[in-house]
């Protein structure tokens, strides 16, 4: 259900219905970590003008968004008792625009995963087929949007963590330009790759949401000063003459025929609408190192970012004879095995003797990759590719964020959007075996409007505007 339709119901009905629905679905989806009491928020809503864009709209936050006085765990054991003393910047924006936060959604532990199988509260299930994964790390948020609980759910995206689950769950996933939305109060993963974004079921809602969430915040000095347009009212689905680049080496790597076919038929439709579609290639050698480049940078930054989790000032503290023992015990028990191993790798790449070969090398390769993509976007309005190369897999077939010998470009190409910081959006473009599949778009920095414009045309062609899943028993 989109925001406009929802606004036809009265506030209490829509808020309580959303909560009721989430509660009902919880045994099937396991997407919620904490249900938020809405009484106070409904009271506070009286101070908000009723024409506010999100007036009385139920919204879900990923559980790495700090909410003052409300449990925020980042789906990690070490934060499983953490009650923030402050609100994330986006909470303030959401509330000022009338949103009612109804739940905190499950995620991969500390955002460091792509399956949502690593959440402290257990795996999240795909609403189209609960035996399949939701994808991650913003799995809970993706699923709650896809199941029609809330028209807007917040996620974060460090290495496709919004866009992959969006594709798996048949919703729109927006990862705007790096610095477009303040990260202040978002429990980080890797600061130079982290983006705040969200899920919606329509392009119009996606545009409306960005208008609310975007903008300069002095508390996050990486946020940009660029003005925030009224995206929704500016949407124009006339794509005549739009120059769209398709990256062939990515499409060629997609093994699922049905996904390629669906993608190609969409291209034809866009051409019929007047878009200029051209095929380009990116340097294969650079594409082959996307994953190690990402893995090294992300884990190095994550190791430092999570050094504050020691059980001393907040979080779950384990007993110990000395303060050192307290820290060691708290961190050993507080993080899962996988997270600790990744911290070891991240730390390894930061050692003085290794930095040139690993961390700094990865940062240099990152620049080469970004330059490569920038050169394409200098010529085109947008890069269009498939999103995930498969439908949502079963847990045992899923690939998590880990190094692999196999060349998985089709699986991992969306992390280019994190390297560049350019705005990206995934949206559903069809179904394969009754499971949603998606496409991925990337535009020039701060050109989110382009995503919404072309996205609108795509939405018109696919007919998938506002779709949600009927969760079967």
């Amino acid at each position: 259900m989109d925001i406009k339709t929802m606004k036809m119901q009265d506030v209490k009905t829509r808020v309580y219905d959303a909560i009721e629905k989430a509660k009902q679905l919880q045994p099937k989806l396991n997407a919620v970590v904490t249900f938020v009491d809405v009484e106070e928020q409904l009271e506070a809503l009286k101070q908000i003008p009723s024409d506010a864009p999100l007036y009385g709209i139920p919204v879900v936050l990923k559980d790495n968004v700090n909410t003052k006085g409300i449990l925020t765990t980042a789906s990690s054991r070490i934060l499983s008792n953490y009650i923030p003393v402050y609100d994330a910047a986006i909470c303030e924006k959401l509330k000022a625009n009338g949103a009612i936060i109804i739940a905190k959604a499950s995620m991969d532990e500390l955002g460091m995963g792509g399956t949502n199988l690593s959440a402290y509260s257990g795996p999240v299930h795909n609403p189209y087929d609960t035996t399949r994964i939701s994808g991650g790390s913003s799995g809970g948020s993706a699923v709650l949007c896809a199941a029609g609980v809330a028209p807007l759910t917040i996620g974060t995206d460090t290495g496709d963590s919004i866009r992959k689950p969006a594709a798996y769950n048949g919703v729109i996933g927006v990862k705007p330009t790096y610095g477009r939305i303040s990260r202040y109060g978002i429990i980080p993963y890797a600061s130079s790759l982290d983006h705040v974004g969200y899920f919606t079921t329509t392009v119009a809602d996606a545009a409306a949401a960005l208008h609310v969430l975007a903008g300069r915040d002095d508390r996050d000095m990486t946020t940009g000063n660029e003005p925030v347009p009224a995206y929704e009212s500016l949407i124009n689905d006339d794509i005549h003459g739009k120059r769209i680049a398709v990256i062939d080496n990515i499409i060629e790597a997609v093994k699922e025929e049905a996904i390629v076919q669906s993608f190609e038929s969409l291209l034809t439709k866009l051409e019929e609408r007047g878009a200029v579609i051209e095929h380009v290639r990116l340097n294969d050698e650079l594409l082959s190192v996307l994953l190690p480049t990402y893995f090294i940078i992300a884990n190095a930054e994550a190791t430092a970012n999570h050094s504050n989790l020691d059980g001393i000032r907040f979080g779950v503290r384990e007993a110990g004879e000395s303060v050192e023992e307290v820290m060691i015990n708290s961190r050993t028990k507080g993080f899962s095995s996988n997270i600790r191993k990744r911290f070891v790798i991240g730390s390894y790449s930061l050692f003085v003797e290794n930095q040139d070969k690993l961390f700094r090398k990865a940062q240099k390769v990152r620049r080469l990759i970004v330059n490569e993509v920038k050169a394409v976007l200098d010529q085109y309005d947008m890069i269009l590719t498939t999103a995930a190369p498969t439908i949502a897999p079963h847990p045992e077939d899923s690939v998590d964020e880990a190094l692999s010998d196999t060349y998985l470009i089709a699986e991992n190409h969306m992390i280019i959007g994190n390297f560049t910081g350019y705005p990206c959006m995934t949206m559903p473009c069809g179904f394969v075996s009754d499971m949603p599949i998606g496409i991925h778009m990337m535009a020039k920095p701060y050109c989110e409007q382009e995503l919404f414009n072309i996205g609108s045309a795509i939405e018109a062609e696919t007919g998938l505007k506002g779709i949600t899943a009927e969760v079967k028993a």
């Binding site: 202040y184 050094s307 020691d310």
Partner: protein
């Protein structure tokens, strides 16, 4: 064996800002524990740093005064280590691009003047304060995030005296700049001294020890002297120095081992991704540099050239900024610079020491002292009377009313005094006779009589002169 002592010093100074280096929480000394913090200082998840403009301004001032080259592109890095006083598990510092590079401090010791080269000055944040007791460790995060500058010298010092002179000079410069409280005893200025010995004439560095916990300048030279003796004893006995951190123990006046250094700790420095490079406005920097307060060396030169003070007096005043400020204020109201210097250096200092008070909380008004000096100059009061007047000035009174209240006004009116002199002469014919018989000390007796008759208010010089003049007439 003849050894050369090699000393390098790292100094951390808290900057005098209203808020923290990266957060808008207040900086305050001595506040109730954990009452001057916000989520950023506590390293809560999701917090991000935001650079304090005034901290940068103060760092630019310090870098300029220390002759450093200033990098107008400010960048920060993470220094990663785990400790209970370090909330984030990393400290934000400037490892790769310090705000100031190079530079020097000129010191003066018995051996003359010497330039101590600086390696760098950079900005960073302070840690929390820990208190250890029987039941464990208590952590107060008020200090966490307080802006610091770290000033790193080259290993240019060769003795405890030079080390102490260096710290003293740096402290004085930072104090004059007003960038820091520089109170070693309160920890707003902290020194780590690295000491090693090497064979005289060698250019290699020996194994060094680092001495922490030096809470006064006097202790710096004591600690260095002790450490030099300790190390040379070991070396002379054919032993080797262990690289370690030591602390100075006040009670035993010795350095004591704190912990061995296991090689060099790898802090895994990398650029702070949450702070973009900040380009300082060239005009802003120029403006800061153009309005630098007078530095101690400049002030000393001014005292010597404008006020004609000697090197010693000028140094004594300049070495104590509060005293120098007081002196400057006195000199705004009198041109008797030398007299003013004497009163400030000798009498005022003695009075302060006696009352165990600091100048800043003393009611003494520099204008009052200047007025008093003018009164001595004009002969209104005697130097002896001035001492009494000064006692009252110290209580905040103005000299004019003190003199009036106490009826101390020196009798300098010629006619009045002449009348009194003649009265005394009339009453002491014997003394006149003595004088005529060549007994000069009769004059002294007569002066004494005049003083007595005037209740001590007679101007002694004038009295002397008048008595001689009148005796001659008789």
């Amino acid at each position: 064996m003849n050894y050369e002592t090699v000393i390098g010093i790292e100094i951390h100074c808290e900057l005098k800002t209203k808020t923290k280096m990266f957060s808008g929480a207040p900086v305050s000394f001595g506040a109730v524990a954990n009452s001057c913090v916000n989520e950023i200082d506590l390293g809560h998840p999701g917090t991000m740093p935001c650079v304090n403009k005034d901290a940068v301004r103060l760092a630019v001032m310090a870098a300029t005064a220390l002759h450093c080259e200033i990098d107008p592109l400010v960048k920060f890095d993470r220094k990663n280590y785990y400790y209970s006083d370090l909330p984030k598990g990393f400290q934000i510092t400037q490892q790769f691009h310090p705000i100031g590079s190079g530079g020097y401090v000129e010191i003066e010791t018995d051996a003359g003047k010497k330039q101590i080269r600086l390696n760098r000055i950079h900005m960073e944040e302070d840690t929390a304060k820990q208190f250890h007791n029987e039941e464990g460790t208590l952590i107060d995060f008020n200090r966490a995030g307080t802006p610091l500058v770290e000033i790193v010298s080259e290993a240019d010092m060769r003795s405890g005296q030079e080390a102490a002179a260096y710290v003293e000079k740096l402290r004085s410069i930072l104090n004059y700049l007003g960038v820091s409280d520089v109170k070693m005893e309160e920890g707003s200025m902290r020194c780590d001294v690295n000491i090693s010995l090497r064979e005289a004439g060698s250019t290699e560095f020996g194994v060094k020890t680092e001495i922490k916990n030096l809470n006064s300048i006097a202790n710096i030279s004591k600690a260095v002297d002790y450490e030099v003796a300790r190390q040379s004893e070991i070396l002379n006995a054919g032993g080797t120095i262990v690289q370690e951190t030591r602390r100075f123990d006040e009670a035993s006046k010795a350095t004591v081992s704190m912990r061995k250094k296991e090689g060099n700790v790898d802090y895994k420095y990398f650029p702070e991704p949450n702070i973009l490079p900040i380009r300082l406005d060239a005009e802003w920097i120029a403006d800061i540099q153009a309005h630098l307060p007078e530095l101690p060396d400049q002030r000393k030169a001014r005292y010597m050239s404008e006020y004609c003070l000697n090197d010693y007096d000028a140094s004594v005043l300049v070495n104590n900024r509060e005293l120098a400020e007081f002196y400057d204020e006195v000199c705004r109201h009198t041109k008797e610079y030398k007299t003013a210097a004497n009163w400030t250096i000798v009498e005022l200092t003695a009075a302060l020491n006696k009352s165990n008070r600091k100048l800043e909380d003393h009611p003494c008004d520099p204008k009052h002292l200047a007025d008093m000096i003018q009164m001595i100059k004009s002969g209104e009061i005697s130097s002896k009377q001035a001492k009494t007047v000064f006692e009252e000035i110290l209580q905040g009174k103005d000299p004019q009313s003190v003199v009036e209240e106490k009826g101390m006004k020196q009798m300098s009116d010629g006619a009045e005094l002449l009348k009194l002199v003649n009265e005394v002469l009339d009453n002491n014919p014997k003394s006149i006779e003595d004088f005529k018989n060549g007994k000069d000390r009769a004059v002294g007796f007569l002066v004494g009589q005049v003083m007595k008759a005037s209740k001590g208010t007679a101007n002694p010089a004038m009295t002397n002169q008048l008595i001689k003049q009148e005796l001659a007439k008789r």
